[in-house]
């Protein structure tokens, strides 16, 4: 009897425990009064036990079918007000069983050696998504089961409801922070950093002086200039854009300069042997060779810019903006709004990064790091 089979049996038993153990510390209708739920529990038990005996590939499907069913069962039970907030071992053991089965399923999926790239790509995407989905499940169950007050820690379902209820407010905040603050600052900051880097490359003295300064400033807590920018540019989005400009300028400068210097000396000698001038060499050699470095900076800057704009809003802003909303609503203990804004920020951040990464793939497809 391998440990995996043992684990599956334990999961099946844990699920079955719901029929025997008390569901709640309050009086609540027993499972016999809930025929659908009871059938689901028994089915899940069978699936968990059965997964121990079938072939590995089938076992994955069976395991996840059981997990879906098992999670659904516990969530359905927790909708009952006599159980929510008072859940006891009859709920928790099945939750642990679900967790164990999910872990086994993911472990098996991770061990699969796929035949082609498409299959392995799908699996590599599926595993973290399944993992993330399960974390959300645990969050939901914990909040509902323990009866955590929603002012303290809302459940994901509550956050989702609040998210879709406040789409207009979220859009306005997004527009203020991201479109007005981040994008304008990002374009100006990265553009300026790029131009100064080209100058620093052309005139070596400038480069040797600016590079150490750029490295030095990159390490400083630049978000601290936000109050100064507010004093110079007012409370509205220009001050946030100014913060983003300063934050994105230095990484862009340092990385672009490193990239322009990255061209090999053989390739540079080749250009010299053609009698090419600086402008031609810049256009045909230095810039294409610098693309990987430039995109590295653009990706780093995409996150830094967003963080900078949000933190700058913590210092004071008109009645709009992601940072503003988070700061104010956190003070008012309206945490579901805050979480909805955080979800918005996470989605926007990933989308921004994703777009830059896509542009990188298209322009630097030739780089060795893509060819392995």
């Amino acid at each position: 009897m391998t440990w995996q089979r043992l684990a599956y049996f334990a999961a099946a038993l844990g699920m079955l425990a719901a029929t025997v153990l008390p569901l709640s510390s309050q009086p609540t209708p027993s499972l016999l009064a809930r025929p659908i739920v009871l059938t689901a529990i028994l089915l899940t038990t069978v699936l968990y036990a059965g997964a121990a005996f079938v072939t590995p590939r089938v076992s994955i499907a069976v395991t996840f079918a059981g997990v879906v069913l098992g999670c659904g069962v516990t969530l359905a039970l927790l909708r009952d007000d006599t159980i929510a907030g008072y859940a006891t071992s009859g709920i928790w053991l099945p939750v642990v069983a679900n967790w164990g089965a999910a872990w086994l399923g993911v472990a098996k999926l991770a061990a699969v050696k796929p035949r082609d790239k498409a299959a392995s790509g799908t699996i590599d995407l599926a595993i973290p998504l399944l993992f993330g989905a399960f974390i959300f499940y645990l969050w939901e169950v914990a909040v509902r089961g323990f009866g955590v007050p929603s002012v303290l820690f809302p459940a994901p379902s509550a956050i989702a409801v609040r998210f879709f209820d406040s789409l207009w407010m979220l859009w306005q905040d997004f527009f203020q922070t991201f479109i007005l603050g981040v994008l304008s600052g990002y374009v100006i900051g990265c553009g300026a950093g790029f131009l100064v880097a080209v100058l620093a490359h052309r005139y070596t003295f400038l480069g040797r002086g600016l590079l150490p300064i750029g490295n030095f400033v990159s390490a400083l807590p630049i978000v601290g200039i936000a109050p100064i920018m507010v004093m110079w540019f007012g409370f509205d989005w220009p001050s946030k854009a100014a913060v983003v400009v300063v934050i994105t300028f230095f990484p862009m400068l340092v990385n672009t300069l490193a990239g322009l210097n990255a061209a090999g000396h053989i390739e540079r000698d080749l250009m010299r042997s053609y009698g090419a001038g600086y402008r031609q060499t810049l256009q045909k050699l230095y810039l294409p060779a610098a693309m990987p470095f430039i995109f590295n900076a653009l990706k780093i800057n995409s996150t830094l810019a967003f963080i900078g704009a949000i933190v700058a809003e913590f210092f004071g802003t008109p009645t709009l903006g992601i940072g503003f909303r988070i700061s104010i609503e956190a003070g008012r203990m309206a945490l579901d709004v805050v979480w909805a804004e955080i979800a918005l920020a996470a989605l926007a951040g990933m989308a921004f990064y994703g777009i830059v990464a896509l542009a990188e793939r298209v322009t630097t497809f030739w780089h060795p790091s893509y060819r392995t």
Binding site: L152, F315, A346, F352, G354
Partner: protein, 306 residues
């Protein structure tokens, strides 16, 4: 048909010492930047000072005007010497425990940074080791950690402060938790990269000796990971500092560099803000310096070329 004769490859005379060559451009650029700052200070404070003179109905010369821009109490852009002066006053002029002392505020922020950094770095290293050895974790958790690099996770700072405050935890601990949370991610990614950096042929060699996973870890993976570890420690300690500063903002804390920045912005004390920024920069440079020193010491122990 012309013939040309090439003379000596270098101009005779000054032998440019390499260190000299390295420092001159930096010093020159810094001096130029300071000069530009002074000019900018004059230009930006001009209207302010002129307005003050006109309100008092006193006559003024251009010289007095310019001198005034260098001494303004609430300047738009303080002159460098004003910042240095205020910084020195706030650091040396007050007893270290006084809430007017930058040392006091710096210490408050620094202690949160430090505790957070230790927590985050330790947890990060442990998780990285687990990720490298447990395939399930590597495929399920690591993608999320990499994703966190794209997301402005600093945005959760207010939530953490508020929730922990509601259950009675205030002061250093919430700030340290935020710092720990922020600096944990780069450490995980860096250490994972380092632990997986050894050449496959090294792994093969270990297998021919029938080495256990623990032996492979201590003799091959961990030493290879040390440079990556220090690189990410330097990044994460600066992030930890920023986290501690930002954590002081949402609830309007009374102590710490962030609090100082906030107070300065509320009361329009421009020079105070700049002095606090200088203090934060000193802290950042100091922290990176300490990590670099430790790094160099460890590298010596591991036989690096000096």
């Amino acid at each position: 048909m012309t013939r040309s004769t090439f003379s000596a490859a270098r101009p005779a005379g000054i032998r440019w010492h390499p260190t000299f060559v390295r420092f001159v451009p930096v010093v020159v650029i810094v001096l130029v930047l300071i000069a530009v700052w002074y000019v900018a200070a004059v230009l930006m404070n001009l209207n302010l000072v002129r307005g003050a003179f006109e309100r008092d109905d006193t006559p003024y010369t251009t010289g007095q005007l310019i001198a005034g821009t260098m001494r303004a109490e609430r300047p738009l852009l303080p002159a460098p010497h004003q910042i240095v002066q205020t910084f020195a006053e706030d650091v040396f002029g007050w007893p270290v425990t006084s809430p007017r002392s930058l040392v006091y505020h710096g210490w408050v922020t620094l202690s949160a940074t430090f505790v957070g950094f230790l927590l985050g770095a330790t947890f990060g290293i442990v998780l990285a080791v687990l990720i490298v050895h447990v395939r399930t974790l590597q495929k399920s958790l690591l993608p999320w950690i990499i994703c966190s690099q794209m997301v402005p996770i600093l945005a959760v700072a207010p939530i953490v402060i508020v929730v922990l405050g509601a259950i009675g935890l205030r002061g250093l601990l919430p700030k340290a938790i935020i710092s720990a949370y922020l600096c944990f991610f780069p450490v995980v990614i860096g250490v994972v990269k380092g632990l997986t950096s050894p050449d496959p042929i090294q792994g093969d060699l270990m297998r021919t000796w029938s080495a256990t996973p623990a032996q492979i870890f201590w003799k091959l993976r961990w030493p290879s990971a040390v440079p990556f570890l220090f690189a990410s420690l330097k990044v994460s300690i600066t992030i930890s500092l920023i986290g501690a500063i930002v954590a002081e903002l949402p609830t309007g804390a009374q102590a710490g560099i962030g609090a100082r920045l906030l107070a300065g912005s509320y009361y329009g004390q421009m020079i105070q803000i700049w002095a606090a920024l200088v203090a934060a920069s000193v802290l950042a440079v100091g922290l990176i310096g300490v990590v670099s020193l430790i790094e160099r010491w460890v590298a010596q122990l591991m036989g690096a070329r000096s």
